[in-house]
Amino acid sequence: MRLRKRMLDDLDQDIRDHLERETQDNIERGMSAEEARYAALRKFGNVTRVKEETREVWSAVWLEQLLQDARFGLRTLWRSPGLTVAAVLTIALGIGVNVGVFSVLNGVALRLLPIPRAEQIVSVNQIFQGRFARNIHGESSMFSYPEYLDYRDHNHVFTGLVAYEPSVEATLSGGNVQQLVGTAISCNYFDVLHEHPGQGRGLVDSDCAVPGENAVVVVSDGLWRGRFAADPSLVGKRITLNRTAYTVVGIARPGFTGTEPNPSEFWAPITMEKALESGRDRLADDNMSWLALLGRAQPGVTMQQVRADLGVIAGRIDQLHPGRTTSLAIRTATFFGSPEERSFLIPVASVILAAFALVLLIACANVANLLLARATVRHKEIALRLSIGASRGRLVRQLLTESLLLSLAGGILGSLIAFWSFLKITQFLISHLPHGLPTFTVNVAPNIPVLVYALGLTLLTGIAFGLIPALQSSRLDLNTILKGDGAHSGPGKRSGRFLLNALVGSQVAVCMVLLLAAGLLLHGLYYAQTVHPGFEEKNVAQALFDLRAQGYDESRATAFVEHLLERIRGNPGVIDVALAECAPLSHDFSTDHFTVPGRADKVSIEYNHVSPEYFSVVGIPIVRGRGFRPGEAHDAPAVIVTESTARQLWPGQDPLGKTLREDTGREDSVIGVAKDAQVSHLGELNTTYLYFPAGPQDDLRTYVLVRYAGGFTDVAKGIRDASQSLDHDVSVDVIKLEDNLEIWRAPSRIVAALSGALGALALLLASIGVYGMVSYSVSRCVREIGIRVALGANGADIMSRVLWQAMRPVLIGGLVGVAVCAGVSQVLSSMLFGLSARDPIAFVCVPLFLLAVALIASYIPARRAMRVDPMVALRCE
């Protein structure tokens, strides 16, 4: 602005002219020249401030000041490199771990699907209320095929709506048998998602025209390269999935692995459902949850409009199902977006983010401590600036700019390291997951939300650790300081000390919370590693035969299983073989409702179908009655209950001969009582559990459990060979039964390792904090100590005095931390296996440990106080 420049350029001259005129007037009034000059100046006021205020009139001044502050800040920081490096590294550490963790959470739960124009894609889930029955294959919030068609054909908000069944397992035969995970999709899937296959075509509507016809498939780029060696002529060839030949019509774009976190290797028409997974006809079932829905919203359509429009359809469907009310959960689509997954993810993510934020808080307190200590050194500079007319607000702003510069440097450094290292860490973790957990992909690369989070956190951090020291150090008693008694008249000695103590106290409190949580988790982990599950997990091999998925019907399956068991029994080293619907701790659960005759309420009890040999193979003793007899078929009305079940259902009575009524009306009588064992959830004792005899229906999907003596590899090979010799196309994966325990222990182990590392980090930062605080306060009372020594105090007195001053905030903070953690542990214990909220070992050991560390951290600088030479101390100021 030209006017602005001209006005400001002339300002100095204008003011000089003004003063000259006033001086002239005063001389004319009879003053001496010197007197006149002073009177004029007095009347004019503070020239510098007038100039400053005038400049401020021309607005953009804040920008100028900011640049000025930044330049000044950089110079100041440059002059004390030690402090700057320490502060930047501390902040980098604090922000780095937070940003890294957030980028993982972002990849897991916030990132849009990796497809073109993903912001238009909307996931639809239903949440049911009321009393009704529904078949569930997957998650309850999914849709049936007729429901999908209704939503697809009657909505007015989508350009297209797709349905798919995630995680369809299929056996690829021909050459080596290979187990694949794929997706059964509605044939508009590729079109609606704007996913154009790299070669060939996607599925088109005609592929879904007739159920059971059109065996076509699109395979993933990874499968094409891995299994088919990037065969350029694969499109058009036939591959065999679950005994049906499919024509490959396309190969997906490299990098496209579907719309679920676990990568899909093939996409087949949903109308081929029955060939993929034989069993009941799901396409016709209008009351079965098995399909996930994704819609592409029309341009300009808002989320509200989508909800309103689909809500009408939901209401109409509800009328067909009396007693049921459906509400729809409609969100922009992400991985892990279903209500079930989110209700788990959100609390877990909040706890994790909170824990990491606490570490950042400790780091902030440390930096604030550093800055406060330095502020003492700078008192004279600040006092001088205040006295020549700098306003307090301006000064605070300048000090804040400095701390923001520090936090920016730390934030950028920390984020860069985090982006790199968390990429590696996640890759490492994912490739080292225990056997049996599903594979999944997480994209942790930074995107806009991560960058915004990093920037926000950085600014917040800068203000958090900068504001208190800035406010504190700009509140000075100018007179005392300028008169030279610098070191002793800080920002009110008492309040300065209080602030330091409060900072250290809160650091210790936060550290205590983290360490206690880590202690609880580690103790829980120890328990998880050593707990005996109640059955003999060693020397048992486990193999799952999902024959239904491989196209078997019941009679063929029964024949297969019969021959299989015969051959396995014939192998050397095999002691006994058993069948079970659910292997112990295999994450397969079956639950049903039962009534006890004579009681009104229904009880929900988990159950298992097992062959007679099960109890001896797995090592669960029958304590009363008898086990199942060979030939006691699935239909025999016999049941074996566990001890806890007997206690809970028939307290104080003999359970043998008692009956349980199923929902179907069938009554089963108790023939035996088995010892309690943690076969369903590791760590859950005394839960109810029932065993029914296995029958022919169970052969379609059954676990084969083999107790062996000798080497596992031979037994595993024996099982695989037996299966191959019966049917070359059946794929089978043999693992040790004890591997199942690993899967249960893995989450505790990961969380314990994580919290242990976090706790160690917190401890390191907090002990630096305590150390810094004590050495600072010792350095401030050197003269006081000198006087005391001169007057005859001995070293021990001074030592205990200094230590007591240092430990007081530590003790208070520690107590607060213990109290907070007592609350937190309630939450943790409900989420993690084997954790008890009131763990005496953790609650005694951790505080003692922390106190010891704090004591050492204060002892080292306190020793300096003892060695103060009174002569030096008294002379030095």
């Binding site: 006005m7 300002l11 002219d17 003004h18 004019f44 006021g45 005038t54 009139v57």
Partner: protein, 120 residues
């Protein structure tokens, strides 16, 4: 940094300096020092402006385009900036004056309750 002088004179209310400057310029364009003098003189020296504060105010008025500035020569033949009321400033002066009179009247009425009660 407050001086005794400041305590004895009547401090200007926030924003009133702008009004006084505009009113002074109504008599004709003049330079900074003369404006300060005029305000003191016309208020019988009751209002003593801290002269420096005139400059931020002048710049503020220029920015709002209530006054304009041009180079000129002062009475003793020296180069100086002459400030002149613009049409916009003239209108603003009318508005501000009315506001001020209303305010002053209202305060005066409150401060002299006895007289008014006597009248009624």
């Amino acid at each position: 940094m407050s001086t005794k002088e400041q305590n004895e004179r009547i401090e200007l209310l926030q924003g009133t300096l702008d009004l006084l400057i505009l009113r002074t310029l109504l008599l004709g364009p003049t330079h900074g020092h003369a404006i300060a003098k005029a305000i003191e003189f016309r208020s019988d020296d009751v209002l003593q402006v801290e002269q420096g504060s005139l400059y931020p105010a002048l710049h503020r008025l220029i920015k709002r385009q209530w006054i304009s500035v041009q180079e000129g020569t002062s009475e003793n033949n020296r180069r100086a900036k002459f400030y002149r009321l613009t049409a916009k400033g003239r209108r603003q002066l009318a508005v501000e004056t009315n506001k001020w009179e209303a305010l002053a009247g209202a305060i005066a009425r409150i401060l002299r309750p006895a007289e008014r009660e006597g009248e009624s």
